[in-house]
């Protein structure tokens, strides 16, 4: 069992979540509340990472973030190491790839908050942040949970992009998804099975526990 790749994947999933959620929440909030004409365009753009195959996204990322690119060189000068074939590169790639899965559920959750409740927040004199933290966020829990679970699971299973910009470096970019794939390629069915099952078990437990807990919490608080 390739424990290293397990822990790497978990790290990747958690770091992605930790960076992506805080970015998705304001984006989703803006999309849920704006009436601007460009809204559907932004929604369309956000959904685009879905349309290209992950490996192709990886290919382009390799070009855009690579050492020969303007961006890759800037990063390398700043941090002293290249962006591709590194953990940071994976994080960036998996954030880009997960944007649509994170933003959409949160946006729908914000949209479902009744207007009366939002207005009541204003009438209580709460500033924007207060309202956001104490009303909008708690009321959109189920959507956030959906977003988090999907992002988490999707990062665990991400393969194409990681393969392209990662380079399969043990301990740095060899995620459990790639590890399992390598097993299947080496006709090591037993190894692949064992790792797959463990991955499935871990994920199932995480999901069941989080859904169970949040589900119970939400029941009492359904809107009037």
């Amino acid at each position: 069992m390739d424990w290293q790749s397990f822990s790497l994947s978990l790290q990747l999933a958690l770091v992605t979540l930790a960076l992506l959620l805080p970015l998705s929440i304001p984006a989703a909030y803006w999309l849920a509340t704006t009436q601007r004409g460009i809204k559907p365009w932004v929604e369309g753009l956000i959904a685009l990472p879905l349309v290209l195959p992950p490996t192709v996204i990886g290919f382009y990322l390799l070009i855009v973030l690579g050492r020969q690119s303007w961006l890759g060189q800037a990063y390398e000068q700043l941090f002293g190491q290249p962006l591709v074939f590194s953990f940071s590169g994976l994080v960036l790639a998996s954030i880009i790839f997960n944007i649509p899965f994170a933003v959409q559920p949160i946006q729908r959750a914000f949209e479902a908050i009744p207007l009366e409740v939002r207005e009541a927040g204003q009438c209580c004199g709460l500033g924007f942040w207060q309202r956001f933290l104490r009303i909008d966020l708690p009321l959109s829990w189920p959507g956030m949970l959906s977003a988090a679970v999907i992002t988490f699971a999707h990062t665990l299973g991400e393969f194409g992009v990681v393969l392209m910009v990662g380079g399969n470096i043990p301990g740095e970019t060899k995620t459990v998804a790639i590890s399992i794939y390598d097993r299947t390629q080496a006709f090591d069915l037993a190894g692949a099975n064992a790792m797959s099952l463990l991955l499935l078990a871990i994920s199932l437990t995480t999901i069941v526990v989080s859904y169970g807990l949040v589900g119970r919490m939400m029941n009492a608080r359904r809107p009037v």
């Binding site: 070009i63 050492r67 020969q68 290249p82 380079g167 470096i169 390598d182 390629q185 006709f187």
Partner: protein, 242 residues
């Protein structure tokens, strides 16, 4: 079937086979459809009923594996032996030489950053690259710098992308104009990886039709072998054939 037969071909054959398919069509008027991919995947797919009619593997062991299961007509024939090269993209600190001396120096100076090969766990070209590096005594030193491609083609992509300092990739790919334009390469002596000889075997599968049969035979003609040689494959002599 009157439909063009589908052929599963290892990724290193991409450029050569595209040309051969055209030649074949010009000659016989019959089209063929080629899928390029990893030989390991094709093996799994054929085991599970993929409707390929010819399988051109990068490693003869896959062919034998299928033959043992009775999925092929016979044990096929060796169509080429692959060669590997040290590839360095333009602007790389690495210069190429067949003896890997430059590589050794760069490693010794601690300047080698990233170096691409195919994954030796399952890709034949990866195993050959590993063998060559072992022969050169560089394997333990180079390991921290390695990035692994899923297959030979991806290793070539990494090696030429400029994000690595270079890599060991199939000669057949480096010779293709698209890649040749991106850097320089030197062919590594065949005996450096004699443990992993890269014997590429093709085989007709059970369901092969007449067109497939014809193409299979076409690939063994001198004309086809010449084309293969042009693309950097060592054409097997009769003695190597079996």
């Amino acid at each position: 079937a009157n439909e063009a037969p589908t052929i599963a071909a290892a990724a290193d054959l991409r450029f050569a086979l595209e040309r051969l398919a055209e030649d074949f069509r010009a000659k016989t008027g019959n089209a063929i459809r080629v899928s390029f991919g990893s030989s390991g995947n094709f093996t799994t797919q054929i085991e599970n009923g993929a409707p390929f009619e010819i399988f051109l593997s990068a490693d003869e062991n896959y062919v034998f594996r299928l033959a043992d299961q009775g999925l092929t007509r016979d044990h096929g024939s060796l169509y080429a032996v692959g060669r590997i090269v040290l590839f360095a993209p333009h602007g790389s600190l690495l210069a190429t030489d067949p003896q890997l001396e430059q590589l050794r120096q760069v490693i010794a100076q601690g300047r080698l950053h990233r170096f691409a090969i195919a994954n030796p766990e399952h890709a034949p070209y990866g195993r050959a690259a590993r063998a060559a590096l072992q022969t050169a005594g560089l394997w333990p030193l180079i390991q921290p710098s390695l990035v692994l491609g899923e297959n030979a083609a991806q290793a070539a992509q990494f090696a030429s992308s400029g994000s690595t300092d270079g890599g060991i990739i199939p000669l057949s790919l480096s010779k293709a104009p698209q890649l040749a334009a991106l850097g320089t390469f030197s062919t590594i002596p065949a005996d450096w990886h004699s443990a992993e000889p890269l014997r590429q075997r093709m085989v007709l599968l059970r369901n092969a039709g007449a067109t497939a049969d014809a193409f299979y035979r076409f690939l063994q003609t001198d004309e086809a072998r010449k084309t293969l040689a042009e693309f950097g494959f060592v054409v097997p002599d009769e003695s190597m054939k079996e």
